[in-house]
Symmetry: C2
C-alpha cells in the first residue's frame, strides 16, 4: 500500500517547500547572544537553567528549528519528541485557522459535563481510526503525567471492584477514605521497571526510576521496582544471552509481584525507555510480562507517551510485540498532542465522577491529533519512518565501526534510535558540538544520545545528521 518511496519523499518534501537544503548557522555557539539576552529576561520570572536556546517559532520550518539568533538547525529532538509532522506544517496551520478550532480554543469545554456536538466524530477521527489493536475506549487528559495518574486510578478501582463484586461501598470504606485510611483508601501499588520514566506528579514520579535528580526530596510511595532485562545490543546478535537476561528479569518480576508487601494493581512499562536510556528488550520479554500479569490478575499498562504515534515504525510501539491479548491500558501524549489512555469497557469506573476532572482533555488537541493521523495515512509516514530509520541505524552502526572508542550500542526501532557514549562528559561535548554544526539533539539515561526526529524525517536529513556526527567525532569532540 501507499506511494512508492520516491514519490512519498517527494510528497512530504512538497509540504515544506521552504525547508533549507542544510542547516544555516550564524553564531559560533548555541545559545547565541540574542538567545542569552532573552534567557536573562525570562530568568527574572522563570528558571532558565535547563534551556538550550530560545526558539523562533515563526521561522522554524519542517524538520528545522530556528533560534533567536537566526540559526536554523536540523531538529532531532523535536520539543522532547512531541512534534509529529514538522514545524509550521501548512495543513496544521490551516486547521488552527478553522472556525471550529478557533471556537473550541476560546470556549474550552468541561468535556465530562458539556461535551460539544462533534465530540463523537472527533473521538473517532483523533483516537479510534488508529487505536491500538483490541482497545475500543479512550479516556482523555491534559498531559502524559495526568494520563498515567488517571490510568493508575482506573487500575485501583478495577481491582477493588473485582474484590467487591456487585456489593455497594461499605460505610467503613466511605468513612475511612475521607481520612486517607484503609479500607476506603486501600494499599495498592503500581510496579514499574528500573530506569523507567512515567511522569512527574507524585504517583507517576513514584513509578519513575530514571535518575535521582528527578526524584530526590519528593516523598514517594512504597511501590516495587522490577529489574529491566540487562540485554546486549544489537538484540538479534546476542539472542542467547538476552534470552537469559529476560528470563531472569521475568522471574524476578514474578517474585516481586507475589511477595511485595503492597499488593500490585498494575505494572506499567514503556516499549523503549525513552528517558531512562533507550533500553529495550525483545518481544518475547513483553509477551512474558503479559502472560504473567494475566496469570496473576495484575493489569498491564503500556506507557506510549514517547513511543506512540508512529516513531518506532508502527503506530504503537507495542504492536511490535504481537501480543495474544492487548494490554489493559495504553497511555499517550507528546506527538499525539492530545493525552490520555486507551482501554476497554472493563476499565470504566463503576460510577460517574470517580475518574474525572474539569477539562478531561482539550478538543483542540484532539482536532490536532486527527489532523496528524490524517497526514500519517496520506503520506504513508510509517513506511517513511521504517525506511529512513533502517538507513539511519545502518549509518550509526557504520560510524560505530569507525569510532568504537566514542560510540556503541546503536539501537532502536524506526527513527526512535539511540547510541551510547563512554561517559556523560563526552556525551555533553557531542551534543554541544553537533549543535554548533547545526543539529539539535537530546540525551537519555546516563550515557545515551537519543534521536527523536519527526515522522517527516527523510533520507536527506539522515545524511546531514550522519555526516555532521562524523565531523563532530573526528574533530575530537
Amino acid at each position: 500500500m501507499g506511494l512508492p518511496s520516491r514519490s512519498l519523499a517527494t510528497a512530504v518534501e512538497a509540504l515544506f517547500a521552504d525547508e533549507p537544503a542544510e542547516p544555516r548557522m550564524h553564531t559560533s555557539a548555541v545559545p547565541g547572544p540574542r538567545s542569552k539576552s532573552l534567557m536573562d529576561g525570562i530568568n527574572t520570572l522563570q528558571d532558565q537553567r535547563a534551556v538550550y536556546f530560545v526558539q523562533d517559532i515563526d521561522k522554524s520550518i519542517g524538520n528545522y528549528i530556528a533560534d533567536a539568533d537566526g540559526n536554523l538547525m536540523l531538529d532531532l529532538y523535536a520539543q522532547i519528541a512531541s512534534i509529529a509532522v514538522g514545524y509550521n506544517n501548512p495543513k496544521l496551520l490551516d486547521l488552527a485557522r478553522s472556525d471550529k478550532f478557533v471556537r473550541a480554543a476560546m470556549n474550552r469545554p468541561a468535556l465530562g459535563v458539556f461535551p460539544p456536538t462533534d465530540w463523537k466524530e472527533t473521538l473517532d477521527e483523533a483516537f479510534m481510526t488508529n487505536a491500538p489493536p483490541g482497545l475500543n475506549q479512550v479516556f482523555t487528559a491534559m498531559c502524559g503525567s495526568c494520563a498515567n495518574e488517571t490510568a493508575f486510578k482506573a487500575a485501583f478501582m478495577y481491582q477493588q471492584a473485582k474484590k467487591r463484586g456487585d456489593a455497594d461501598f461499605t460505610a467503613a470504606e466511605l468513612a475511612s477514605c475521607m481520612k486517607n485510611e484503609a479500607p476506603g483508601s486501600p494499599a495498592y501499588s503500581i510496579m514499574s521497571f528500573a530506569k523507567a520514566f512515567h511522569g512527574r506528579t507524585l504517583a507517576s514520579l513514584s513509578a519513575t526510576r530514571s535518575k535521582p535528580i528527578h526524584k530526590i526530596d519528593i516523598p514517594a510511595l512504597n511501590w516495587p521496582v522490577a529489574p529491566f532485562p540487562e540485554v546486549q545490543y544489537p538484540l538479534e546478535a546476542n539472542a542467547a544471552a538476552n534470552r537469559e537476561a529476560e528470563d531472569h528479569a521475568l522471574a524476578e518480576t514474578e517474585h516481586l509481584l507475589k511477595t511485595h508487601p503492597v499488593p500490585v494493581a498494575a505494572i506499567i512499562i514503556e516499549p523503549i525507555q525513552g528517558e531512562g536510556g533507550d533500553n529495550m528488550a525483545t518481544p518475547r520479554f513483553y509477551q512474558g510480562l503479559r502472560a504473567l500479569t494475566q496469570r496473576l490478575g495484575v493489569l498491564m499498562i503500556v506507557d506510549e507517551v514517547q513511543t506512540g504515534m508512529g516513531a518506532t515504525g508502527k503506530m504503537w510501539a507495542h504492536e511490535h510485540w504481537n501480543l495474544d491479548t492487548p494490554p489493559d491500558m495504553v497511555t499517550f501524549s507528546k506527538k499525539m498532542q492530545a493525552a490520555g489512555w486507551y482501554h476497554n469497557m472493563a476499565m470504566r469506573a463503576s460510577q460517574p465522577l470517580r475518574n474525572f476532572n474539569t477539562w478531561l482533555g482539550d478538543p483542540i488537541r484532539a482536532y490536532q491529533a486527527a489532523a496528524i493521523m490524517q497526514q500519517i495515512r496520506e503520506y504513508d509516514l510509517l513506511k517513511l519512518v521504517n525506511e529512513v530509520g533502517d538507513y539511519t541505524l545502518q549509518g550509526l552502526r557504520k560510524l560505530e565501526q569507525q569510532h568504537p572508542a566514542v560510540m556503541c550500542n546503536a539501537r532502536g526501532q524506526g527513527t526512535f534510535l539511540a547510541f551510547d557514549v563512554p561517559d556523560p562528559a563526552q556525551r555533553a561535548a557531542i551534543v554541544e558540538n553537533i549543535r554548533k554544526r547545526g543539529v539539535n539533539m537530546g540525551v537519555s539515561g546516563h550515557q545515551s544520545v537519543r534521536l527523536r526526529p519527526m515522522l517527516t524525517f527523510q533520507k536527506k536529513h539522515a545524511d546531514i545528521f550522519l555526516s555532521r556526527l562524523k565531523d563532530t567525532i573526528e574533530a575530537g569532540l
Copy 2:
C-alpha cells in the same frame, strides 16, 4: 478609575450584541432528544453518566450556553467556573485567529528547554500585570491538579533545602530515592482542610477531602486534615460565634502541625471551598493561619484554581484577607485558562530539571490569559463583579426570607456565591427544574447550589436568574 457603572455595563453588553434578551427553551427537558442521541454515540467511547447535556459551541454567546437541541440557557456554571469573559468573546476569537496564536498552537514548545522569543513579554502580560501582591515569579503547568502537585514538590524541596543548607545531596539520599525510600524520598505531608478540593491526581487527591466518591478505592498518603471553621452565615451577623469557631479550628490546626507523625511541609487552603460546599471564613482566620505557618516554618499554599481571576470581586480572593506577608505559593487554573502557581525566588529548586516536565504549560493559554486580563482592565470587570455580586446576594437573601424552608445561608464574595438547600434531593430538583426554565447551574458540597457566572454577568442576568429561581421554588420544585 474605570467607567461609571452604566457605561461599563453598556460597553460589556456591546461585546455580545447577539446575546438574547432572555433564555430560549425549545425542549421540555434538558437534555433534550438530540443531546440524548449524541450522548448515546459518545457513550460508546467515553462514560457519559456525568453529562448534563451536549453543548453547541458555535451558538453559545456571551453569558448564554446553547445546547444541541437549540436551547439557549443563561449559564451560571460556565464550564465548571472556567469561562471568564463570555462564550465566543469577539476579542478572544480575534486572538485565536492571530498568526502568533496559530503558530504557537501548532508548534507547541517544550518551554523549559526551548522557550519562544516572546516568552518574557507573554509572562509579563499574562501573569505579572495582575500577580498576587508580593509574588514575582510564576511556574506554568497544564491544569489545576498539576499546578498543585508541582507546588507540593516545591514545598518538599524547600523544606529539605532548609535542612541541608549549602551541602550537596548525600550518597545515601541519591541511592535511596531510587528505591522510593528515606532519606532520599523523605516523609513529608501537605495539610489540607476538611471538605477541601485540590485536584484528582494522587497527591492532590490526598489533599482533597470533598466527598467519598472522589476518593474511594484510591490509595492515599498519610497526610493530616485540619477542621475547617464551623461558621454561621452571614459571617458578619454571627461574629462572636464565628470568632470562637475560627479560634477552635486554628488551635486544632496548630496541634496537628505539631503532632502529626509525618512532618508538614506546607498547608494548602482555598479562599472559598469551591467544590466542597462554598465554605468560607473571615479574614481573621486566614491571617491566623499565615501567622501560624510562619511561626512553625510551614509553607502556605493558597489554592485559587476556582476563586482566582476576579470572580470574588478581587483579582485574587486572598486579597480580601489583607495578609501582612504574602502566601508562599498561589495556584491557579480554570478562568485563567493557563495554569500554574505564583511564588518568590525562595521556591525555585536548587537545580534545574527538578520541577520540570515536557511542556511546562502552553503559550496559547498564556496568550489567552493575557487577553482576559486585558478585558478585565478595559471593562473594569472587578467593579462589575462587585456591583452585580452584591445585587445578586441581596436578591438571594430576599428569596431566603420568602422561602426559608427551601433555601438558606446565601453567602460568598463578588459573584462567587452559593446557598444551601435542605437536602440533596431538593437540590437536584431545583437544578433540574431551573434548567428547564433556561438557567444552567452547578452544585457544591452536600447541599449547596453554587453560582459561578462569568465576569461579564450583569444586573439584567441576575434579574433573570433570581426570577426563575423564584418561579422554580414557587412551582413546588
